[in-house]
Symmetry: C2
Subunit: 345 residues, 2 copies
């Protein structure tokens, strides 16, 4: 009747609960899983006992038998980048509300590390993984997962068309910027890029070229800037060492936008008066910059939610058709662009 003295070493188990409640272990198990097979009275009794005994469900044991772990893996290239952090926040929210838990890993955008981490995920028996593939990931790797029966959704970047995918509408986002700048009269528009080449990179470039062509403009002002923000400011000059002088620049991301805006300032140019600048991602505190930065919002948190939902749906039905969920971008117009008429004036 009294609690055993060795409770320290032995946790309270479902069998303990069942015995105290005067039911069988199977019944107790049904209560936990909210089965309708159990009568209200029995359920109440069992729940009271669980409470009283301080029972904690052992997911690990359940998984062993039931073949599911209530666990999903999330693999991201770089946690320190707020863009990915927001993606992660979105994922975590929906995974959590599905009563599951996320196992997190950082690939460092390196395929070898990604392989290691991927294996670790399998060893831990995750039910599925959300992967933002490292630059250079082989499509074969994704297909391999498929064979193992491990559901995968790609997020933000994709290397294979064989899994679900959630990402922003990069192409549309760049088009919005181009259209906007053109509407202000700009015709000589640069695109400042950097970083590794992957689908998200290519789509932005594509979007730029297509949008420019759509307006009968040339896409020759694609300029590659350094990686680190300090170096970017120092390299603002690059913009003006091209065949033609741009009057505006679209940035590949907000880091570049920040760097260039500082660099232009250092050159004595004022954005939103002498030059127009559009950021991408809208993840920095654009509101706190002066002038406030006009930027394309890619809503990484929403993308994260979508990715998690895709995975949950697939877990529910392995056979459903592959889907791609593209989140529309939004151009947040603030103060960093001017009409060409006002520059010339």
């Amino acid at each position: 009747m009294m609690p055993s003295d060795d409770r320290k070493k032995s946790r309270v188990t479902l069998l303990d609960v069942a015995q105290h409640a005067g039911v069988s272990r199977a019944t107790a198990s049904l209560v936990i899983r909210n089965s309708p097979l159990v009568g209200a009275k029995t359920r109440a009794k069992v729940e009271a006992v669980m409470q009283e005994l301080g029972y904690v469900y052992n997911v690990g044991a359940a998984r062993l038998r039931a073949e599911k772990s209530r666990t999903v893996g999330v693999i991201i290239p770089n946690l320190t980048n707020p863009f990915f952090a927001e993606l992660l926040a979105g994922i975590e929210r929906v995974i959590d509300s599905a009563g599951m838990v996320v196992i997190l890993a950082n690939s460092g955008d390196l395929t070898e590390r990604q392989d290691v981490v991927m294996r670790r995920m399998r060893e831990h028996g995750v039910d599925g993984v959300i992967l933002c593939p490292a630059a250079g990931t082989e499509p074969a790797m994704l297909d391999g997962l498929d064979e193992w029966g491990l559901p995968v959704v790609q997020a933000l970047r994709h290397v294979s068309g064989r899994t679900d995918y959630a990402g922003p509408d990069y192409i549309g986002g760049v088009k919005q910027s181009v259209d906007y700048l053109v509407s202000l009269g700009h015709r000589s528009i640069a695109f400042a890029v950097h970083g590794q080449v992957h689908s998200a990179y290519r789509e932005r470039i594509e979007g730029f070229c297509a949008a420019m062509h759509g307006h009968g403009l040339s896409d020759d002002l694609i300029v590659k800037v350094p990686e680190k923000i300090g170096d970017i400011s120092a390299s603002a000059d690059l913009l003006f060492r091209q065949e033609r002088q741009p009057t505006a620049a679209i940035c590949f991301n907000d880091v570049i936008a920040l760097g260039l805006s500082a660099g232009l300032f250092d050159k004595g140019m004022q954005i939103g008066r002498d030059f127009s600048l559009v950021g991408f991602d809208d993840v920095t505190d654009a509101e706190a910059l002066r002038p406030r930065l006009t930027s394309v919002s890619t809503a990484p948190e929403t993308v994260g939610e979508n990715a998690a939902t895709l995975l949950l749906d697939r877990l529910a039905d392995r056979e459903r058709a592959v889907r791609r969920v593209i989140t529309p971008t939004e151009l947040h117009i603030r103060q960093s662009c001017v009409s060409i008429a006002d520059i010339d004036a």
Copy 2:
């Protein structure tokens, strides 16, 4: 001899490996765990078979028997805040290199959610948890974990002295700022704060008061600003609606610094010329601001590494004495402060 047709449903197990290698399951198990009891030749044979069969270790099954999961829980108030994202990056790095995996959860800085999430961690059988306690967390909660035998380390904030703790030297950081501003001749220094009250909040306030007193100055210019960055800029006036006019302000964090610097700009004041501003955390792209923001670096990534190391050490020895690892801060002097002489001039 040939692979069974139903491999789809049944994964390859340690027993399969053992049989193919012509050893007992126990031996195969020893190989996996790198036991020295196994001869080199046997080991090689078994490893070859594992490779050949595509064996994947089942951590879940191992855990059930061995009572450890190679899993640690990390509970954070807000993923979207780069400060916490960096902490997480540091934690992930050392946990990963210990061959373990992090289960992530977001408490939203709400104690109720934190309780839910904490329970989920227990259900998943984490070996320990790194917790940045939500504002308002009861010390009793931490002590409860202790009773359950679940090792905990607090990070960034602490509500109980009974567990290990890793955090920045908030007090020293504020003192560095005060000393620096005083050395520039400032005597009327404001401290701009906001947010929930917790240990990290109190320590910064304490640090401010102590440092000011140390210089024989009054600490009466503590001003509370709004939470959201847009509102902060709009409230820069608050600084000047105090008993005395400050010539400098230290910010509770970089968000406030960004907001105020924009707000002061809007008032036509130029930081680093008309007014001095010091940020805290140095986590934004201070290098890309103009003027570049002087800020106290709290190195959250290092704090994260320390927290993870503390947990690993405790896992290795439950009985060791409780430790507190305080990471020194560093004042990164850039351009946002002026000597008082130059203001008066």
